[in-house]
Point group: C2
Chain length 447, copies 2
């Protein structure tokens, strides 16, 4: 079974519920919405993962292996298993375009489909959209903190499994990173690939300068040397010597990387050594435990750093390793629905998000309304799938479009939410019609 | 390219370094070790992921698509790309058996192979072993907190991508969870699958009792009902009514689930309602934001809870979302190697871990020594791959063996490290020979 495509990458209850729905002919039209509740330390979210979500929906099939497992599991009736052989997703999807900057309670994805189809896809759609949104959001914060300096993703090894490593490379690029170290993210999505060398490379040589020189001759167009295996400043001086030997061959040393110690202090000393050695063009890249706050401090400190390599902190969104995502039934058979118990309130009905902006293009506030309302501002949820087919084929160019859309959003976002420590919630209001519907549903007499 | 098998799920630098190694004939024998540095809030680690690591090593090939990307990327020489077409992993692996309880600085995996082979596999081996070890460790803490109550994994939707969701189900079971909601973890690894129903199922019905009854008749052997969609106690009373109607048909209500609010208070009230309704055998399962600390409080409180469903907190190891894992070159061409710069110290050489125990089987302490030393205690690293072939074919039964091994380890672990807030570091010492080697390498004259 293909991990990336199999419908068995789901929670058992989706399938057991489906059997009951089919037994009782509960195949009327349902509207499910995927949204995020407010998160600590996050002034905004960046929507990501829609491409993979739509690909997954398009290819959703129960193959022989899936059906065999269902048959043998003892959880399902023979009739139900038989029926699932012909299962297809035939619904409609509306979504925030990838790269959209959005806020708590706003639907990111809206599925309109026969109840069993909308139900079955819950677990995997959440799994896809939650992670990429989590990482794009974290990466956007790093992007903002780094200003015009370069930021690249080095995090695959400590990302949570292979798909996370792959998608982190994509989500970081979508949010503004220049490149990723992860080859597969480059091969699949066209994210520029980058990298330097590991300490092992230096250790495998008897002499640090020899290691530098060999690497440079082997990769003359991309010489970035790791200088902290033994002593950072001594390493920088060796870079100067090596650069001198490489100059006649036309091989420039494009950069050095420092991966440990006091990065600002090291960068200053290394900058002086490189400049004194005629390597004013050689850039300084730093890495090692970086997140948006450490990046912001290094930038504020004026450290002569040209680029940041970030890893585990970003690929796991370490300060907020998951968001309070939800995928809820908000309408079924023409009636608005919503969970009504304590602690968790829900916005029922099929919704739309309207965004208003100032004359200068800065956002003023959003209104969540019902899908059939006409409210001031731009309607953000757009149709992306109809009758189970993609409206736009996606693929080629879609990541770069999402990246540009995100960059535009980060420019229009008010300062209070752009701040690493958000100063206020972005204004999101509910339309009177939505408020009325919520009260009606909360009163138990859904409309 | 198959996400689970492709060698391009790696960092670019692994490949650029390889080209240089080959160009200079640096193909001598290298020893790399994967280990974890001390982590906050963790008194021990549980080794997991070895099965997937060995499978990946066994199938490591550069296919046409991988080679085409390498050719087009501009990062590599034609000769190197050509060479990689024939690349195989031919090395030896020694490892802690899956399920082994271990401690900081102890090698979990030791790769002995020609330098390029040992280097290339770094990123993905870390990615595989780090995540599963992270989750098995977190899950073991939940297992210890829950005592003899049932614990199950519900976390796939907020795990970081699909592979994390899949592997979390496996790692949690390895660490002692009874079951997972993730079907694919059941289909692939034989982890028992479990589940109840979503709020959407209840909301899709006009009447809560009708939803319960339909589900029960549809799944008569596994009736576990979600009772907090509207009002928990009212839900429990409906369960009693429904159970009365189902009794003549021989359908028992095996459990109820509460997913919100004050779980202990709800459980007490629900227990009284169920008991008064003759449902003494009906179990109470709770879920919603649970981790080992909340489980421990609910247990200490004496709440009448029979099982815990855990999700995001465990599948992301939310309090410690990554561990300080490392994969380091410790020997090359017969010489011990180790990084010597500030802040990060390394134990050079090819090592072994020796564990001593008391007469009653409790562990007394470990010694990290050199692989060719004979020290008191059990040697923990065992050969698992030779000449690129698995020593033991793995597969069938391997997860259950690892699970039993972990349970045994958790019993033998001293109280100070079993505690959710560890009271002391487990005693791990270095053999005199290892200490001498470290000083020699730190002095710059590697032996």
């Amino acid at each position: 079974m293909d991990l990336e495509r199999t419908p068995l990458l789901t929670d058992l209850y989706e399938l057991t519920m489906l059997q009951t729905y089919y037994e009782h002919g509960m195949t009327g039209e349902a509207v499910f919405e995927l949204f995020f509740r407010a998160a600590p330390h996050r002034g905004f979210f960046v929507a990501a993962g829609l491409e993979q979500a739509l690909d997954w929906l398009t290819g959703l099939r129960f193959g022989d292996e899936e059906l065999a497992w269902m048959r043998d599991s003892g959880h399902f009736s023979a009739e139900f298993v038989e029926r699932m052989a012909g299962f297809r997703f035939t619904g409609e999807v509306r979504a925030l375009p990838e790269g959209t900057v959005f806020f708590a309670e706003e639907p990111v994805l809206q599925i309109t489909a026969p109840l069993p189809e909308g139900q079955l896809v819950e677990s995997r759609l959440m799994n896809i959209v939650h992670y990429q949104t989590l990482i794009a959001t974290k990466a956007a914060r790093c992007r903002l903190a780094a200003g015009d300096r370069r930021v690249v993703d080095f995090g695959m090894r400590r990302a949570h499994g292979g798909e996370a490593g792959l998608w982190a490379g994509r989500a970081c690029h979508l949010a503004g990173f220049e490149a990723t170290a992860t080859c597969l993210a480059s091969a699949r999505y066209g994210v520029p690939a980058t990298g330097t060398m590991a300490h092992a490379f230096i250790l495998a040589h008897d002499d640090e300068a020899e290691a530098f020189e060999r690497f440079a001759r082997s990769h003359p167009h991309n010489v970035v040397l790791l200088i902290d295996t033994y002593d950072v400043e001594a390493g920088a001086r060796k870079v100067v010597e090596v650069a001198r030997r490489l100059r006649p061959e036309g091989i420039p040393v494009r950069g050095v990387r420092i991966d440990s110690g006091d990065l600002a202090a090291h960068a200053r000393k290394v900058r002086r050594i490189l400049d004194a050695g005629g390597l004013q063009e050689t850039r300084i890249l730093v890495s090692g435990g970086l997140d948006e706050h450490r990046i912001a401090r290094l930038v504020a400190d004026g450290a002569p750093i040209d680029g940041f390599g970030v890893g585990s902190q970003v690929d796991t969104s370490a300060d907020v390793p998951f968001l309070d995502s939800a995928y809820k039934l908000h309408e079924f058979s023409g009636r608005a629905r919503g969970k009504r118990s304590e602690g968790k309130t829900d916005l029922p009905g099929r919704k739309q998000v309207f965004r208003e902006q100032d004359a200068d293009g800065r956002w003023r506030g959003d209104t969540i309304g019902l899908a059939d309302e006409s409210l001031p501002g731009e309607a953000l949820l757009a149709p992306v799938m109809q009758g189970g087919e993609r409206v736009d084929p996606g693929g080629e160019g879609s990541l770069e479009r999402a990246r540009a859309h995100c960059a535009d959003g980060l420019r229009r976002l008010p300062e209070a939410q752009r701040a690493l420590k958000p100063k206020a919630d972005y204004p999101v209001s509910l339309s009177p019609a939505l408020r009325a519907l919520r009260e009606q549903v909360a009163g138990g007499a859904a409309g």
